[in-house]
Amino acid sequence: MIILFNSILNLSYWQLALAYTFVLIVLVLIKSIGIAKEKELLISSIRMTVQLIIVGFILTYIFNYPNFFITSFILLLMVFFAIHTIFKKFKGKLSYKLKKVITIAFTLGVFPVIFFFIFVVIQVKPLYNPQYVIPISGMIIGNSMTGITLGLNTMVKRFTLNVEEIETSLILGATPRQASKDIINDAFDNAITPTINSMLGMGIIFLPGMMTGQILSGTIPTTSIMYQIAIMLGILGGVGIVTYLCLVLGYKTYFNSQKQLIYDSVSK
């Protein structure tokens, strides 16, 4: 028997409604365990539904009427919210200088990766075609945001906890860069490891979201893996470049021009 790949099963409203059975099941489970999460679960289910419905309509409109300015505006908005989320998600206090570094590193790092990926690798036509630009940028921006957050958390924590080590290195003649080398390496390692691990497990432990989505919407698996491989490499580039820039610019905020550690920046 031959199965046609391109047959798409459209979900009807009542089929979708049936999926909410899971919310009811989890609600019952939460009640039986006795944790006060019912309200949160209900709110998150409703929010997810409403948000996705709105996004669905907006994207349908944008895809039907591709426009350079609207695509660019959405791209900028995504980057803005990503930077805002990095600031918000950060455990602890971020100095003004470090916030500036994050903004510069994220913008300088993520845009070239997106442009290279869309214009050179995929060669989308027209270049601002939102059907490609928006979801692909979203994946690169989202993953870069997670990477930079992980790297930043490690860097700030290590600078605060390892004052003695940094002082010793400076006393022994190290430049600030040399004194921060182990911290930068450790932070970069922490940022990039989840991406590398997910590349290792891909296809064996799990099927990645984008590929699953494409397969469900009728794309044959051999095509969807091509996209998945490409986007994974794009994500790797995004996470790597953005985190690297953030760390090599970020460590400098802990030192002054006289190569002295700024003690206020490492106080707990």
Partner: protein, 221 residues
């Protein structure tokens, strides 16, 4: 009459302030001498060493090194000549040799195993180079930190009261090693201590520091 010209001094400080923690009115260190700074803990002694090592800057006034304002000397160049041994030195993991690798890397020096072994022997630290630093005692760690500092060959060594983390005998041993090195190699030493005995035994000049105030020659012991 002895005439002291400004150039005689390796370090010369007059009227500096560091926030409300320290005020130094007059403090001079001559080449190839041992100077002791005596005072109670929390009196600002460590702060003065950090100022001289250029780890921090005075909030008021200037510090002269060989008659030149240290804030105008390139910091890395300056720190090559001035080395600070802290109360409880940090050792890099994993081995004794790794610690020398760091210093060599920071200062663009060659790793000379024979020299390193000689230095370790000179402080009676007879351990193999691949010995893990985590297994060293407090005194051994202090001696390793000392020879690690000596490896970069500073002109001036600043020694911060090793006694706070060591027993009396180990403390004396460390100070004796440093003093011997200073005398044999024509270097200069500033020791910070709370002990009058140490000052009497080793120092050429002694200054007293009290409640963050060092008044200089009037307070000569």
């Amino acid at each position: 009459m002895e005439v002291i010209c400004v150039n005689d001094f390796l370090i010369s400080i007059s009227n500096i302030k560091y926030h409300d923690i320290l005020e130094v009115f007059d403090f001079q260190v001559k080449h190839n001498t041992i100077t002791c700074l005596v005072g109670e803990s929390g009196g600002g002694k460590t702060t003065l060493l950090k100022l001289i090592n250029k780890m921090i800057n005075p909030t008021e006034g200037i510090i002269l090194y060989e008659n030149e304002n240290i804030s105008e000397i390139e910091t890395l160049e300056y720190r090559k000549n001035v080395g600070l041994l802290t109360q409880k030195p940090f050792l890099y993991p994993e081995t004794i040799f790794d610690n020398f690798k760091k210093v060599a890397f920071f200062n663009n020096l060659l790793l000379d195993e024979i020299l390193i072994k000689g230095l370790l022997e000179s402080v009676s630290l007879n351990k193999p180079l691949d010995f893990p630093v985590s297994k060293l005692s407090g005194g051994e760690a202090q001696r390793l930190a000392l020879v690690r500092l000596i490896y970069k060959n500073p002109k001036l060594i600043l020694l911060d009261e090793p006694s706070s983390s060591l027993d009396q005998q180990t403390e004396n041993t460390i100070i004796e090693y440093v003093v011997k090195y200073i005398k044999e190699n024509n270097k200069t030493l500033i020791i910070v201590t709370h002990s009058d005995n140490i000052a009497q035994k080793y120092s050429d000049f002694t200054y007293r520091i009290k409640e963050g105030k060092l008044k200089g020659r009037d307070n000569f012991v």
